[in-house]
């Protein structure tokens, strides 16, 4: 397997990219997605593999400086098994052979020569200039196994102006073994970047979308806001505290000595290579005007209810109606499964009016493994959600 250099993505792909595959990183214009291919390049070189990098849009020096700046780590070309075909080569080919079939042959000769002489394992190519010079079919053929060594892995980055239509055509024709589209959206957050595994030749169940951040030269899958809401004393603060590495709750002790959240709970965790932020809402109806503020831009919601308290179901039903209007993934967690008077899942579903496609977990928020199961389910739903 070839690692993508992004371990969360490797996990989603079932361990990485099978050797000998043909991979496309498709970039929507303007999206900060260059680190995807660069991460794979760095990882490949660190594993001691030999690489050919085709950069027809830039020079070797500028490319090395750019990727060093992006990654925060200079790539010493001399210490690595790396060879290049760059914009200087492209100009030479154009001067000698123009842009037609003679130029195509010259590119083939140079690629084959470099691959053979350097026993290249992985070819990295920036495709859009090749596409422009030779057209789609000839450009793809130039960077295919017909022209490159049979056993080599080919990884391309393309600036995609043609959108999903082009990618769907690639998937239908099986032009690539993996198509990963990197896109942006203005909702639920402005300047919100995400990637979608659109196609893999080795599985039909991998179509999923994940937001990401670029942090310290690395791509980090990111869920900026999961909200935990529910009736009072359902265990939301406990849930957030047990789910996260760093949690904070704004509480107040009432006259009866019971502690209740009066502003919100907040916690952050790094889990399965994801950065996740959790927000817990107050449960008392008098805080309902705050709910839209806390729920705004949430990417998923946990509705937490006390599974031993029938009296809470009406309140839970009202909250459920509010969150279903947001059209984001929802998971229901029925807490206090370890206490007497536990309702069944059917009773809870009926009492709240939960639709069949929304999972219900019977949990104890005291147990971190139960909390992790709920989060795992919600993160899975978020990554399958089409933005």
């Amino acid at each position: 397997m070839i690692s993508t250099g992004m371990f969360g993505i490797d996990d989603m792909l079932g361990g990485g990219i099978p050797e000998g595959s043909r991979v496309l990183y498709s970039l929507e214009p303007g999206v900060d997605g260059q680190l995807f291919m660069i991460s794979t390049l760095y990882e490949t070189l660190e594993k001691g593999r030999s690489c050919l990098v085709i950069i027809p849009h830039t020079t070797v020096d500028a490319f090395l400086h750019d990727i060093g700046q992006l990654r925060g780590k200079i790539l010493p070309a001399k210490e690595n098994k790396i060879v290049f075909l760059d914009s200087v080569d492209r100009e030479r080919i154009q001067r000698c052979a123009g842009k037609g079939s003679a130029a195509e042959r010259e590119w083939q000769v140079r690629i084959k020569k470099l691959c053979t002489e350097n026993k290249v394992d992985v070819i990295f190519g920036y495709f859009d200039v090749i596409y422009e010079d030779f057209g789609l079919e000839k450009g793809l053929a130039l960077l295919s196994r017909a022209c490159c060594p049979q056993e080599s892995t080919i990884i391309l980055e393309n600036l995609n102006f043609e959108g999903d239509t082009l990618l769907e055509a690639f998937a239908a024709r099986k032009s690539f073994d993996l198509i990963l589209a990197i896109k942006s959206s203005f909702r639920p957050l402005p300047h919100f970047n995400y990637f979608t595994i659109m196609y893999t030749s080795w599985s039909t169940e991998l179509h999923r979308s994940v937001p990401f951040l670029v942090e310290d030269g690395h791509v980090v899958p990111y869920i900026p806001k999961i909200v935990v809401t529910g009736p009072p004393e359902a265990g939301k603060s406990r849930f957030v505290a047990n789910a996260t590495e760093l949690a904070m709750s704004v509480d107040r002790t009432g006259l009866g000595g019971n502690v209740t959240t009066v502003a919100m709970d907040f916690g952050r965790l790094h889990w399965q290579d994801f950065d996740i932020t959790l927000y817990g809402t107050p449960g008392q109806p008098r805080f309902d005007p705050m709910l839209p503020v806390i729920l705004h831009n949430a990417m998923g919601v946990v509705l937490l209810v006390d599974a031993t308290n029938h009296g809470q179901l009406t309140r839970a039903r009202n909250l459920y109606k509010t969150i279903t209007r947001m059209h984001v993934p929802i998971v229901v967690a029925a807490n206090k499964k370890d206490l007497p008077g536990l309702m069944s899942e059917e009773e809870i579903r009926k009492g709240i009016g939960i639709s069949k496609n929304i999972p219900v977990f019977l949990i104890s928020a005291q147990q971190e493994s139960d909390v992790a199961d709920v989060l795992e389910s919600l993160v899975d739903s978020i990554t399958r959600f089409i933005y």
């Binding site: 970039l27 214009p29 303007g30 999206v31 900060d32 997605g33 260059q34 027809p56 849009h57 830039t58 020079t59 020096d61 500028a62 490319f63 090395l64 400086h65 750019d66 700046q69 914009s87 920036y126 859009d128 200039v129 422009e132 980055e157 600036l159 102006f161 043609e162 942006s184 203005f186 402005p190 300047h191």
Partner: protein
């Protein structure tokens, strides 16, 4: 809605300025002081920002031009496609970003997004005014140079994306195209992406412009000069 003042009385008095989201093609022959006109139209007014995608001048020269037009350099960002070719080790800063050459549309698009994000985040100048969305004037100097590096079809798609982004962030975009260097098909294709066209002509060493595409503003030719970043109309 925000209105971008132009300093041209005919436009500002008739319409209050260009609507947010306007994309303007500046169609001009060589040696017609079009760059100065573009600097005058994209110079950031108080509370505004400017981003120049420079295919012809280094970032330092762009800043000098804006300064001589009376702009505050802290509110100007430059995407420089010239310097990195000769100085590969030049590094990006908040307000100066570099790509190797105009071929690299991936890099140009990403640097533009970075600058806009920083402006939106309030981390661009250190002297943020607080207007939201922040008014951004964007200029490409010039589309003609980009056309020398990339095919018309590709550039059309790229400009389609850029003009859409300008609309989305409620900015104001100006795109300079040499009217003498390209055929009618090229010019009309680029025009399709624009809201307004300003044409410039030179007659007997005098410069004239006319504005097309604004309701209530006639398309008569106006003789003009540029003085310290201001468009001055001859009476």
């Amino acid at each position: 809605m925000y209105f971008y003042k132009t300093g041209i009385p005919q436009i500002d008095q008739a319409t209050g300025g260009f609507d947010a989201g306007t994309n303007l093609l500046l169609l001009a022959p060589s040696l017609s002081y079009t760059e100065q006109l573009a600097y005058a139209l994209t110079k950031p007014l108080p509370g505004e920002y400017a981003i120049m995608l420079s295919t012809n001048e280094r970032a330092s020269e762009v800043i000098d031009q804006y300064k001589s037009a009376g702009a505050d350099k802290h509110f100007v960002g430059v995407i420089d496609t010239i310097t990195k070719c000769s100085t590969p080790s030049v590094s990006d800063t908040e307000r100066f970003m570099f790509v190797t050459n105009p071929t690299d549309l991936t890099g140009i698009g990403i640097k533009f997004s970075h600058m806009v994000e920083m402006i939106f985040d309030g981390t661009f100048s250190g002297k943020e005014s607080g207007l939201f969305p922040p008014p951004i004037r964007f200029c490409v100097n010039s589309v003609s140079t980009l056309l020398m590096y990339r095919k018309l079809e590709v550039l059309y798609q790229f400009l389609h994306v850029m003009t859409a982004k300008v609309k989305k962030v409620e900015g104001f975009g100006i795109y300079i195209l040499n009217s003498e260097a390209f055929d009618d098909k090229t010019v009309s294709l680029i025009k399709q992406l624009m809201t307004i066209v300003i044409e410039v002509k030179v007659e007997r060493s005098d410069n004239y412009f006319r504005v097309m595409g604004i309701r209530g503003v006639n398309a008569d030719w106006h003789k003009f000069t540029i003085n310290k970043g201001q468009v001055v109309l001859a009476l």
